[in-house]
């Protein structure tokens, strides 16, 4: 029994790690309707920025997070400027409705992600960076038969704050209203006088702040910070987003938790090399039986 409880606890913490990444990813997708392939690199940038700050000044975790979030916002705005804005320079109706124009950003964001990853590799090398061991978020905490670590608590709190805060901003503020408007109909939003450019930049800033925060937290949680660290969480976040109905943030979070649980529970029954297959199996099942995602029924986006 203890064994199963422990596996469930591990599944929950895995799921929260994926959820942390999926929130920002889904927000950006919800507004632009295209995948931002560079989100994984924003996550990596967040982790490296945090590591540089920690080795240089050793401030408390909260200050590290604030700096990382600021770096993330800058990275997001920069990414939008380089990879997304150039494809919005034509404002005639045909271009705005053109899928090709939008989907070209798939390629441009992928290009940016490759350039950033290689640049980090040239600067820092491709190996695991040495993280000061006392800064790792892995102090064991015993809860009866189950052991969790300090990072689980921190990640849970941050993920809950992100989700709650984001729902508040989206539902109760003007910025949130315009984000939702652009998300459901960009052309219509433009016609009613919403500054869509600014709204998109805001979305990138907010989404990337979350991506960068996720990067440093997960980096310290596992003690594994390296240039290609964003790739696998990016894939998992993508799967969670698709399962959750593409643009539902709570849906993505719930599906991220399902992914985490299914991976750790799968390990009980099959060798761990097959655990990923179980997660992707879920994706296929979802796509066959719920083509709009498990939580994608409602019209309201984001």
């Amino acid at each position: 029994m203890d064994y199963y409880l422990q596996q469930l606890a591990i599944g929950l913490s895995l799921g929260m790690v994926y959820a942390l990444m999926a929130i920002g990813f889904t927000l950006i997708f919800g507004v632009l309707n295209v995948v931002n392939f560079a989100h994984g690199e924003v996550y990596t940038i967040g982790a490296f920025a945090g590591l540089v700050v920690i080795t240089a000044f050793a401030p408390p975790l909260f200050v590290v997070l604030l700096i990382v979030v600021a770096v993330g916002a800058l990275a997001g705005v920069g990414l939008e400027r380089i990879a997304f804005k150039p494809f919005r320079r034509f404002s005639d109706e045909a271009s705005l409705k053109s899928r090709a124009m939008r989907e070209a950003t798939l390629m441009s964001s992928l290009a940016v992600s490759i350039i950033v990853r290689e640049a980090i590799e040239i600067g820092f090398g491709s190996q695991f960076q040495t993280v000061p061991l006392d800064r790792l978020l892995n102090k064991p905490i015993s809860l009866g038969p189950v052991t969790i670590v300090s990072g689980d608590v921190i990640i849970f709190v941050v993920a809950a704050l992100m989700l709650g805060g984001l729902q508040y901003v989206l539902k109760r503020t003007n910025v949130g209203l315009s984000i939702r408007a652009v998300s459901s109909n960009p052309l219509g939003a433009k016609y009613v006088g919403i500054n869509t450019d600014r709204t998109i930049i805001w979305t990138f800033a907010v989404g990337s702040m979350m991506g960068a925060a996720a990067g440093i937290l997960v980096g310290l949680y596992y003690g594994a910070i390296f240039p290609s660290m964003g790739f696998i969480p990016g894939i998992k976040a993508f799967v969670a987003m698709v399962m959750g109905g593409l643009s539902s943030i709570p849906g993505a979070v719930i599906c991220a938790l399902i992914l985490g649980f299914s991976e750790s529970i799968a390990t009980i029954f099959v060798p761990s090399v097959w655990a990923d297959m179980v997660a992707y199996g879920f994706l296929i099942v979802t796509l066959i039986f719920f083509p709009r995602g498990i939580f994608g029924g409602a019209r309201d986006r984001v």
Partner: protein, 372 residues
């Protein structure tokens, strides 16, 4: 930074070369070295390059009648790149021998080209059992799991561990770690209570560790490299699982201790190279390494690369004057008791090196040799 140093170095080399020309025409023999200098495994390739340059500088400054030049090509640990580089090396008539690649997969893909063209190839790390069987042109300077597995099995059984769990990465190499070890354990009356593979680069080992702990083994035998190793050891500590861990020489790297800190204490492994070895030639290499790279002590892989380059250089010297690919191969095959930093190397009839293994344990943040 690196690039600028390289440029300055190249400039200096050109100056020296032109200066040398004025005195006497010193002939140059060329070697090729294929290795990953970018991509996910770049850290290993960069280490090999540094080790090779240390060995080469020492050779060229020792007053031989000729100079050797090594042409480095970046394979990115990609088999397609490796084959393209192999063709390039083969087409360059000046090249008489090749070192590399890093992984068994790329080494074996390139080996097909070297086999058909007749080019001696010496890999510092390719440990797949089939690599040296490809043709008479392939050599390696690493012990295979055929040697390490039974050695470790006997070591663990002698220490009284009867129920052993085994995990290894899901690669060709990982498969040989498990099969060679498990066969010997079973033959000697031990029991393998758990055996599983994981994907290299797995972030979270806790589901597997929890599963291993449930089987209550006496000890765990592991086939991983230092990055996965550090993650595994840290997460074992997190979960409070206290079972002795044994590993292969692949995990032997100072970086493992740097990444896992106190959680690495007490891990046992075998090694062919210990930087704490007081032998003068080992200390000379360790000092040169620290000076060149500014890093801590070299791990086992750079040491193997250093020896591989020296073995190749010795073979070229033996083939002098007028070294040809055939003469270099024959000289390599005749390598006997070559005194390297990873122990004395002799190639047997199958071009496999026999090396002496050292038992080591992590103690107070250092790998130290132990007798039992």
């Amino acid at each position: 930074m690196d690039r600028r140093n390289l440029l300055i170095g190249a400039g200096l080399a050109a100056l020296v070369a032109s200066g040398g020309m004025a005195f006497a025409q010193q002939p140059v023999v060329k070697l090729g070295y294929q290795l990953p200098l970018t991509g996910n495994t770049a850290q290993y390739g960069q280490d090999f390059k540094n080790a090779a340059e240390i060995a080469l500088a020492k050779f060229n400054s020792s007053g031989k009648p000729f100079k050797v030049e090594i042409i480095f090509e970046d394979s990115r640990s990609d088999a397609k790149e490796g084959i393209a580089i192999a063709r390039k090396f083969v087409d360059n008539k000046e090249i008489v021998g090749v070192l590399g690649d890093f992984t068994s997969g790329v080494s074996m893909a390139s080996a097909q080209v070297y086999k058909s063209a007749g080019m001696p190839q010496l890999s510092q790390t390719a440990s797949h059992p089939d690599y040296a069987k490809i043709s008479e042109w392939q050599f390696r300077n690493i012990t295979t799991q055929a040697q390490e597995g039974p050695y470790n099995a006997n070591w663990m059984l002698e220490r009284g561990f009867k129920k052993i769990a085994v995990i290894a990465e899901q690669t060709d190499w990982g498969q040989t770690v498990v099969s060679n070890f498990a066969d010997e354990v079973k033959a000697k009356g031990g029991e393998i209570v758990f055996s599983e593979f994981f994907n290299r680069g797995l972030a979270d080992f806790r589901p597997i560790i929890t599963k291993i702990a449930r089987e209550k083994p006496d000890a765990i035998y592991t086939g991983f490299f230092y990055e996965d190793g550090a993650q595994f050891l840290k997460q074992m500590k997190q979960l409070g699982v206290d079972i002795p861990v044994y590993s292969t020489s692949a995990a032997y790297n100072q970086k493992l201790i740097e990444l896992a800190g106190a959680d690495a204490e007490g891990m046992h492994l075998t090694a062919t190279f210990l930087p704490s070895n007081p032998a003068p030639h080992v200390q000379e290499f360790v000092a040169a390494w620290k000076e060149k790279t500014g890093q801590a002590e070299p791990g086992q892989f750079p040491a193997q690369a250093y020896d591989a380059v020296n073995i190749m250089l010795a073979a070229v010297e033996k083939a002098w004057p007028e070294p040809t690919r055939q003469k270099v191969r024959d000289a390599l095959a005749a390598t006997k008791d070559f005194p390297g930093v990873t122990g004395d190397t002799t190639f047997d009839a199958n071009r496999e090196p026999a090396k002496k293994l050292t038992k080591a344990v992590v103690k107070n943040g250092q790998f130290v040799a132990v007798t039992d």
